[in-house]
């Protein structure tokens, strides 16, 4: 399929609307939640697809809308939010997910949650230990994808947490215990490799296979932990390859807030990865070209697509379409081939309010259109 230049895509989760959070708890919507539901329904038009759920929430009768139906409405909202912003590839804003670690791990056996770890200040996260061989209870995200496939008007792309990140965010107990002698650096590395590849083969691959069987054609493997230990890039790659081996889909790999050059050229061994979806805008500032790292990819002769992070998800200031277009121009300059570039936010927009997220997505779409007009004109 020939696409227009600079197609656009989502990259991760959206903030949960307040009406969805309260509705899922069967709590009556307060005034701000009702207003939020009304405003966004009017703007992106999703309520008419489940009017009985919307109306029950607005009428203060949350018990008439069961939590699953509210979740479905949240997924419809996510889809329409992204589609009406003008994106070419969408998902549901991860409306059914709370986070990207605990849910997948809870679909597997061999793990034990043993308490909270402080992330910073008074913020904590649950971290499981792998205490036995990894086994998958059943493929996950399947019902979620079925719903998206049934309702999406644009092309769906499913995000799934990668095996390296799931392993890095867990304690390695079982595989480390199998290493003989002192559990020093070499033993830890070997145990981590075994853990990641086992996760990939026993949990990720069956899940991806089930999703592909249901019609999923584009899958984004999220590996935010990849940049945490650059010297383990080979393990990231082996996990990716084991998870995707023999599967037929368009795979992309999302990494963010990392020094990508440190992961290269090892990362290029990810055989079935068709697109690198990376964050760039966060590191782009006057006097510092955040896109210069693309030159390293070009120097290695890599010709895969780039999912170009063109808006920063950690700041409320909304980029102008011209800023996005300028970032695309610079990326083309480094890569040489405009047809390889998709345009997207740096990462998921869940930390931004819905109005800010929407404005940033619209800037992505408009900025891509500006660049498209410039680069397609000489072709005509």
């Amino acid at each position: 399929m020939t696409r227009a230049l600079f197609p656009t895509q989502e990259i991760g989760s959206l903030a949960k609307p307040r009406w969805q959070i309260l509705g899922q708890r069967s709590e009556p919507l307060d005034a701000p939640a009702k207003e939020e539901l009304r405003v966004w329904d009017e703007r992106v038009g999703f309520g008419k697809e489940a009017p009985e759920v919307r109306d029950a929430l607005l009428a203060g009768r949350p018990r008439e809308a069961n939590p699953e139906a509210v979740r479905d409405l949240g997924a419809l909202f996510g889809l329409r939010f992204l589609e009406t912003a003008g994106l070419d590839r969408v998902y549901d804003g991860e409306a059914r997910r709370i986070e990207m670690y605990e849910y997948p791990i809870r679909q597997m056996r061999g793990f034990r949650f043993g308490g909270h770890v402080r992330s910073f200040d008074n913020k904590y996260y649950l971290k499981a230990a792998v205490t036995d061989e990894v086994r998958l209870d059943h493929p996950y995200h399947v019902d979620e994808f079925d719903f998206v496939k049934q309702h999406a008007r644009a092309e769906p792309k499913l995000p799934v947490t990668g095996p390296y990140t799931l392993a890095d965010w867990s304690y390695n107990e079982y595989y480390l215990a199998r290493q003989p002698g002192w559990k020093g650096r070499a033993a830890r590395r070997a145990a981590q490799h075994e853990f990641v590849v086992d996760l990939a083969r026993r949990a990720l691959r069956p899940t991806l296979s089930a999703l592909i069987d249901r019609g999923c054609k584009v899958i984004q493997i999220d590996e935010p932990a990849a940049g945490t230990h650059p010297d383990e890039a080979a393990i990231v790659v082996d996990g990716f390859n084991a998870a995707t081996e023999g599967l037929d889909a368009e795979f992309t790999m999302h990494i963010c807030y990392s020094n990508y050059a440190d992961l290269l050229p090892t990362l290029l061994e990810a055989k079935k990865c068709r697109q690198w979806a990376w964050e760039f805008a966060n590191r782009d500032s006057p006097g510092h070209d955040g896109y210069a790292v693309l030159k390293v990819l070009a120097d290695y002769g890599d010709t895969r697509e780039i999912g170009l992070g063109a808006v920063d998800v950690h700041r409320d200031a909304v980029e102008t379409p011209e800023t996005v277009a300028d970032r695309i121009r610079r990326a083309v300059n480094y890569l040489g081939d405009p047809s390889r570039i998709w345009v997207n936010p740096d990462c998921g927009l869940r930390t931004r309010s819905l109005p800010v997220a929407r404005a940033k997505l619209e800037a992505v779409v408009k900025g891509a259109a500006i660049a498209r007009a410039e680069f397609e004109a000489p072709r005509r």
């Binding site: 043993g114 008074n122 965010w169 304690y171 480390l176 020093g184 945490t228």
Partner: protein
């Protein structure tokens, strides 16, 4: 072999404290209730440290948001900056921003020490940032060069040590991951030595320990050996024991033998074997055993469980068993 044991960094918060501090942020509990729980949990940590036979107690430093915050909040010249990743972990600290040459506020850090330490200084261990890691992990907008800043921070930390030493604290452990993550060279290395010379000048018969972690320490040993401190520590989850340089050392050797990156409990016999191997390479004046990196990378329960290896290792070593 003279063996000393103790914590080398902050201890995790209990699940009760996790719940209470979360509730505090959400307005569901009071500062007084959380304060009460802090005090109770600190006593639990001290009790644990005594029960495990540690040479000094720390009370876990449960109230410190991160290693630098008390300094960023009380010393002159600083403001508290953005969340920044803590080494190669999934945890974060707020990066201090230095806007002007720093100056200490007398008494401020002493007042931030865990209350049980303030009440019983002579049996307590003070955990402080090392001047090098402090200098390279902050955002320096003061105009001061990095070597000058390292040296200045060493002098200021020396003044803290002098003040706390006068109160009776016997041991000061300086957290220095960056000495092995980004080993200093040239003028920066000389500034590190000068900084520790200032600290050592204030130690007045006490003990100073530099604790490294976060990377393989083998390349840093020439500098570590030159530091004028009582002992230097390395994390044996990062540094293989056969990579520790051979040759007698005039100072003590710290060995991080409890790995906070895994919930797997260490085997006392295996730890004792590695400790003996390290001892045979350096013949240090004393051996300090503890967690290789801060234990707050673990939840409370596994951290507590894993610490039990330390008295077990001590027993194995003292009994001369293989």
């Amino acid at each position: 072999m003279l063996v000393r044991t103790g914590l080398t960094g902050p201890f995790p918060r209990s699940e009760a404290l996790v719940g209470a501090t979360r509730d505090l942020d959400r307005g569901r509990t009071t500062t007084e209730a959380v304060e009460e729980l802090y005090a109770k949990t600190e006593e639990e940590v001290v009790t644990l440290e005594h029960r495990l036979g540690f040479d000094e107690a720390t009370a876990g430093y449960l109230r410190w948001p991160d290693l630098f915050r008390p300094f960023a909040e009380t010393w002159e010249g600083f403001t508290v900056g953005p969340l920044t990743r803590w080494l190669e972990t999934n945890t974060f600290y707020r990066q201090p921003i230095l806007l002007a040459p720093p100056g200490r506020t007398p008494g401020a850090i002493a007042a931030r020490l865990p209350p049980p330490l303030q009440h019983s200084p002579t049996t307590s261990r003070v955990l402080l940032p090392g001047p090098y890691s402090f200098a390279v992990m902050l955002d320096n907008r003061s105009g001061e060069t990095e070597p000058a800043l390292i040296h200045r921070l060493g002098r200021l930390l020396g003044e803290e040590v002098r003040e706390l030493r006068a109160q009776g604290f016997p041991l000061f452990l300086f957290s220095e991951p960056q000495l092995v993550v980004r080993p200093p060279e040239g003028p920066r290395a000389e500034a590190v030595i000068a900084g520790y010379r200032a600290i050592q000048g204030a130690i007045d018969g006490g003990t100073s320990v530099v604790w490294t972690y976060g990377a393989d320490a083998r390349g840093a040993f020439p500098l570590l050996e030159r530091l004028p401190v009582s002992a230097v520590g390395v994390d044996l989850a990062e540094t293989e024991v056969d990579q520790i340089p051979e040759g007698p050392s005039g100072k003590g050797l710290g060995l991080g033998v409890v790995d906070p990156h895994t919930t797997l409990e260490e085997d006392p016999a295996e730890v004792a074997r590695v400790v003996r191997a390290a001892y045979a390479r350096r013949h240090p004046s004393s051996v300090f055993l503890g967690p290789g990196a801060p234990l707050d990378l673990l939840p409370w329960e596994p951290a507590t469980r894993k610490l039990h290896v330390l008295p077990a290792v001590r027993r194995v070593l003292s009994e001369g068993r293989p």
